[in-house]
Symmetry: C2
Subunit: 159 residues, 2 copies
Amino acid sequence: MQATDAPTHTSTEGATLALAALVRHLMTGTGGGFFRELERLDLSLSQCKSLHLLGEREVASLKTISDEIGLSLPAVSRAVEGLVQRGMVKRAEDPDDRRAKRVTITAKGRRTFEGLLELRVAGIRAFVEGLEEHEREALADGLRPLMERPEIGALAPRR
Amino acid sequence: MQATDAPTHTSTEGATLALAALVRHLMTGTGGGFFRELERLDLSLSQCKSLHLLGEREVASLKTISDEIGLSLPAVSRAVEGLVQRGMVKRAEDPDDRRAKRVTITAKGRRTFEGLLELRVAGIRAFVEGLEEHEREALADGLRPLMERPEIGALAPRR
DNA sequence: TATTGTTATACTCTATAACTATA
DNA sequence: TATAGTTATAGAGTATAACAATA
């Protein structure tokens, strides 16, 4: 077992530490523009998360948003209220269950959502563009197999 | 230019989108344990950032911490006060400039810092361990050149 | 009775302003 | 005068509790 175990462990640990370093570099280096835009739009992080969820699901109840982003119902109620006031989402009674509200994203909300998404990708793109050709090629080759995994590939921004 | 530009653009865009998806997957999937531990330790995010800085620099003034983590001086003053009360840092007058305080991490603070660091890496390790052999090898190969960059390699957790 | 959502209230964390001590 | 740090105060955002409407 020794002969086969060692290399596996080595590549696991090497990839783990390298990935941790890369993620940290990307987080510290590329997040600025995103948060500055959130501030400019006067959106709280909870509103950003809510908008993000609605950008992907078209429709959700406050309860669903609350469960999905792990925030209390009152907090979501107020966050969404702010989004309604900014014209980024609409809130209407659910005809099938009049206790619930159907929250939907508006065209303006969708533009905001996509702008924020692009801004987050932009930081990563700038990093990749700054790499040497061989680094970029190696990285692309290393990531390609992972994109085959549905749980990761599905997260890729649509082009 | 067309013939040489196109492949470069392709690998740039491919790597960008793949990296964005991977980072997102790692953020959403592996952050839970870290934040649960922060809550268990009753540490605010600002206290975590301050402790992190002190874990890497041994000593810093409140002003330095404030500048480095981008938080107001009063906020840092109170965050550090909490760390002092928990015995994770010491705060003493700077003999060279008696207006300033020298904040240093204690042994307890260092254990906490390293525990939090390991917890953050643990999520990434679990992800890497869950990969297929060929995925892991490809990922390790793809990341290795990046670790040669000082701005990234320096961020790798020490082993 | 249980569930969805809103409103009331208390708490945490933050920034700005005012202040103290030192340079 | 300027700078490091603390204290006072106000504002944003959160959770729990109490409530109204509907299931």
